[in-house]
Symmetry: C2
């Protein structure tokens, strides 16, 4: 009998798992149960549809499976892990599926802050194409927008709204933007670049309430009342773990399902992957809340291969991330100085700006902050800001951290060079070298 | 007494050594003896000055040293390694320098093929700004150009001459362009892209002679006579080892000075770095002829630090390289399939094309060929072709080879993602995954 694989959810993890399961066992009977109405959509691209730089229709795609059954608009109602069945309800009524392996890839839902006024008209969250359509519709007549939450999605959404000519304010409760991902010295670059794009930034400002009368007219944040006829709440996400919890899967301290490096849960026959799990951080070696499409995709691959009888392992992740607007990119991998101090690592760091190509070819410069252990010079994280070349530099840092490379290794790495492509001394080598000098001075 | 450091040559290695020596020992007495007339020039950028996309004046720079004495137009006549003296002759007549440490960073000279007609007017080599000025002057009236040699400099020069509207033919004696650096299947991409730029390519064609009467009128290559009123010989370089040989430095089988990983030669007190040395290949672990500015710079750093009493080590290199024109980039690191077979490695490789960013953001694609050991999946080399993003991908490959990463590691590496910056599944992860499937099939 063909192996029966059931996948709940068709985001990056579920979709990738289905593809790899079908590649790994071409005879497998694979069913994906998707509560949403679209085959595929790309949540990280939704901000750009809001700005009008990308057609919303392009963020939605048709799945092209040969053998996988994809059931949209279908909601799982219950799982029986002993009988290995899944109950669901869709357009055709109630359905029951038998499985050998089940994947829970239910993702997250947007966190709505517990304040008054979140139900006013023209107040939105941003997670699905429907949310984006709502924002676009509000933006057509809006003159003043407030984006609450200086996360990646908040930064990109504020950039796009300002790009539409809407007077835009970005509100963040921490003292700086992207507080979990950047040290203050690099975060400053992001704030300055966003302001250059026309976004006003209000930090240290907790959202108190959203005000209006039917329609939103403003927000009260910190001590300021900010007028707005469009509000986007980018205040984080919550893992969707209801089903996992109902069958007794262990849940981690960050609210995600606990999984092994094979992506198995603590319930036999049940896997989980993507934003609904807590992911092992490769540096701290502890479960951590990484809700990133790239991580979800790689976890989906491992789950899909293993569910179909193959062999793959997910070692953990670093939380490599990048945020990109039309004028700047920022990103990082592994530890910031702040996280390092909190986690008890003794580190030294340098921050430096370097040309991406020879100065007589282009004046484009990138800022790299590189953090290493004080004793060995081992690279444990980095942060990057620039007009482009940021994602690639984040990837160098990720490779260095994963491989246990030191500043000494990066200074002698065989970086390539051609004037039209790159600088002779790669910015990473420059940063590594500055780190070496600091390491030799012991500070 | 201050430490006396003498450096012969002010190319990438000599210049970098001077800078690092002065950083490492701020009291050192550092003299650079430079036979050329310019403080600094950037040889790899000369092709772009020929095309007119870059002012030749911008490729030449003034050195800004605080403490280093730089003597241009000064030629070393002899070295006495026992008395530790260097004799030289310059504008001010004969000079003698005492040294504690001496660096030989004499670089290379262009190889002129031993055929008739290389002394005709409008026949040039390309190594110095003077050469470039000669080519630019010839190009002002030239209608037909032949570039001999399908190396990086030949490819870029042909691209730039065609870009000026000159009917340009690139002649290569091997069956394909960049034969030492690319397998035929990737080299084909380079040839097609160059042809798209208007360059005619003639391979399998040994240069027989250059014809003309005072002025060049054509070249005879293979069985073809190709008309030309401008010829550029990009037929390789020869290490300048006369001085090193005169004092008994051991010379490697590729014609470069043999050095340790501290950049010392076999003669006490004498270091060597840059294009004039044979460099340890990190994969074969043997001395090899890498004549690359990036390698020279990194060797110069190590030599400079060590000569000034610091401690640095150069582990070897992979030969990471990239060639870039205004329409395409190509590059690679470590082994090609061809080199792997010749060196006795059992390898498996994949070639695949992937989007650099999501297809609905940009259709730009990159081709990666990735080569791994058949038994362990350890990455031993890669080749890359695309419109951009090539140098970065070459650097990923270099980091992977240096760190001993396998295809399995690259498939689970935490690559970052943001739609405007990068694809969710990094092209390297896609290539690694294809390699894993091939490894599991054993072919």
């Amino acid at each position: 009998m063909a192996r029966r694989i059931v996948i709940i959810g068709h985001g990056p993890a579920g979709m990738t798992a289905a593809g790899y399961a079908s590649l790994t066992d071409r005879e497998a009977d694979i069913t994906v149960i998707n509560s949403g109405g679209h085959d595929i959509y790309h949540p990280c691209s939704l901000p750009f549809a809001i700005g009008g730089n990308l057609e919303l229709a392009n963020v939605v795609e048709q799945a092209r499976y040969r053998k996988v059954k994809l059931l949209n608009g279908t909601t799982v109602t219950d799982i029986d892990p002993d009988r290995r069945t899944v109950g669901a309800v869709g357009q055709d009524g109630e359905l029951t599926f038998n499985y050998d392996s089940l994947l829970i890839a239910t993702g997250t839902r947007p966190m709505v802050p517990p304040v008054d006024g979140t139900d006013l008209e023209n107040v939105h969250v941003l997670k699905t194409p429907e949310h984006a359509r709502g924002i676009i519709s509000s933006a057509e007549t809006a003159t003043k927008a407030v984006v609450v939450g200086g996360s990646a999605i908040g930064v990109e959404t504020a950039s796009e709204l300002a790009g539409r000519g809407i007077e835009t304010v970005l509100v963040e409760m921490a003292p700086e933007l992207l507080p979990a991902s950047l040290d203050p010295d690099i975060s400053k670059n992001v704030a300055a670049a966003l302001e250059e794009e026309g976004v006003r930034i209000v930090t240290d400002a907790m959202l108190e309430r959203i005000v209006g009368d039917g329609h939103v007219t403003g927000v009260l944040a910190g001590n300021e009342e900010i007028g707005a006829n469009l509000v986007v709440l980018a205040t984080g996400v919550v893992p969707e773990i209801g089903l996992a919890r109902s069958i007794g899967c262990d849940i981690g301290e960050h609210g995600g399902i606990l999984v092994s490096n094979l992506m198995t849960t603590t319930v036999s026959g049940v896997y989980a992957a993507g934003d609904c799990v807590d992911t092992i951080d490769l540096v701290s070696e502890k479960p951590s809340p990484m809700r990133l499409a790239g991580v979800a995709t790689r976890q989906g691959r491992v789950a899909g291969v293993n569910m179909a009888g193959g062999k793959a392992s997910f070692p953990g992740a670093l939380g490599s991330w990048v945020v990109a607007t039309h004028t700047f990119h920022a990103g990082g991998a592994a530890l910031t100085d702040g996280r390092a101090a909190k986690d008890g690592f003794e580190t030294i760091s340098v921050k430096m700006q370097s040309h991406l190509r020879p100065h007589y070819i282009s004046d484009d410069r990138i800022t790299i902050k590189l953090t290493a252990l004080s004793d060995t010079g081992r690279i444990v994280g980095g942060q990057v800001f620039g007009p482009h070349g940021v994602s690639e530099t984040v990837n160098y840092i990720a490779l260095a951290v994963t491989s246990g490379l030191t500043a000494y290794d990066l200074a002698t790495t065989d970086w390539c060079y051609a004037p039209l492509a790159s600088e002779c001394v790669n910015p990473m080598a420059s940063a590594a070298d500055a780190l070496i000098r600091r390491l030799s001075r012991g500070r």
